[in-house]
């Protein structure tokens, strides 16, 4: 028995949406998998896994981190660096984050050596492809800091994971 046309149109419309969504997920599977990096459940891991020392990145692209990796490194003593403008930093930032807006880093490179050289630096900005964190990370690497990483998800991913934030200026 044939379907009446309106029902067939609805089912074909849903098939069109499913096809488009499947193409999009296939094309962007890496981005989706990175954003689905979930923490281990308590039943699987009662103690946090040790943070293995990683070689210094040779490029900013190799230094990107997922949210869980950021949390592990922060627990091990890494310093978060906020590359956003100070007014945005004051509205909310990662706990104990150091404010170093990219514009100021470009204008006053002499501030860069004031960062601790014996801690891993995790640079972040507004997420969603914001390039300020990667640009600031490059400046830091060029200034001689070896352990520099970029948190690509940035402040939005941190907040959406319901993780604690601080407000105010340093």
């Amino acid at each position: 028995m044939n379907c009446p046309p309106p029902r067939r149109i609805v089912s074909e419309a849903l098939a069109i949406v499913a096809l488009g969504a499947a193409l999009g997920l296939a094309f962007n599977y890496r981005m989706i998998l990175e954003s689905l990096d979930l923490p281990a459940t308590p039943a699987l891991s009662r103690t946090p896994p040790p943070v293995a020392p990683s070689p210094a990145p040779t490029s900013v692209a190799a230094a990107t981190l997922t949210l869980n990796a950021v949390r592990d490194l922060l627990a091990a003593g890494a310093l978060p660096i906020d590359a956003r403008p100070r007014s945005v930093y004051a509205e909310g930032h990662l706990p104990a984050a150091y404010s170093l807006p990219l514009e100021e880093a470009h204008a006053a490179p002499q501030r860069l050596p004031q960062l601790p050289g014996n801690r891993t630096l995790i640079v972040y900005c507004g997420g969603y492809g914001c390039s300020d964190a990667a640009d600031l990370a490059l400046l830091l690497i060029q200034a001689g800091y070896r352990e520099v990483r970029v948190f690509t998800g940035g402040y939005p991913e941190w907040v959406d994971a319901a993780l604690p934030v601080e407000t105010g200026t340093p």
């Binding site: 069109i16 949406v17 488009g20 193409l23």
Partner: protein, 142 residues
């Protein structure tokens, strides 16, 4: 269908299909930036912004191509009517909440304000509804 209706239908297909094919292609290759544009509306959590950014442009490309090519015209046009109606509601919500953001319709840096985008969306909705009304329903044996 008379000649005038056929001409109007053809023009609607060109405009609507071409618009969505172009808009989808403009956003499909930089999903993170498009996710940032979606995040500016402050409606969805981080993961949803990324999922929408990953899939919506490709839905636009597929439906735009079908409308432009005149294949599965009615189902594709219905998808577009739903997308346009939803987008109009989202734009109106953003305007009411006083958000001063780019619409993100053509990807990051598209440069269209929310009222402009709402007007454009309503025009497009009108054209798509016209297209749906002019296109005859498929027969059971099609």
């Amino acid at each position: 269908m008379n000649r005038r209706s056929e001409t109007v239908l053809f023009l609607c297909r060109l405009l609507v299909g071409g618009c969505f094919l172009y808009a989808g292609a403009a956003k499909a290759f930089d999903p993170r930036a498009f996710a940032g544009e979606i995040a500016a509306y402050r409606l969805f959590p981080h993961l949803f912004n990324l999922l929408i950014a990953a899939t919506l442009p490709w839905i636009e490309i597929v439906t735009g191509a079908l409308v432009l090519g005149g294949r599965k015209l009615l189902p594709a046009a219905w998808v577009l009517v739903v997308l346009e109606a939803l987008f109009a509601v989202i734009l109106l919500s953003a305007i009411v909440r006083g958000l001063n953001i780019d619409c993100g319709c053509l990807g990051a840096g598209g440069g269209r304000s929310l009222p402009e985008a709402l007007l454009g969306d309503l025009v497009l909705l009108g054209l798509t509804v016209t297209l749906c009304r002019l296109q005859p329903l498929p027969r059971d044996d099609d």
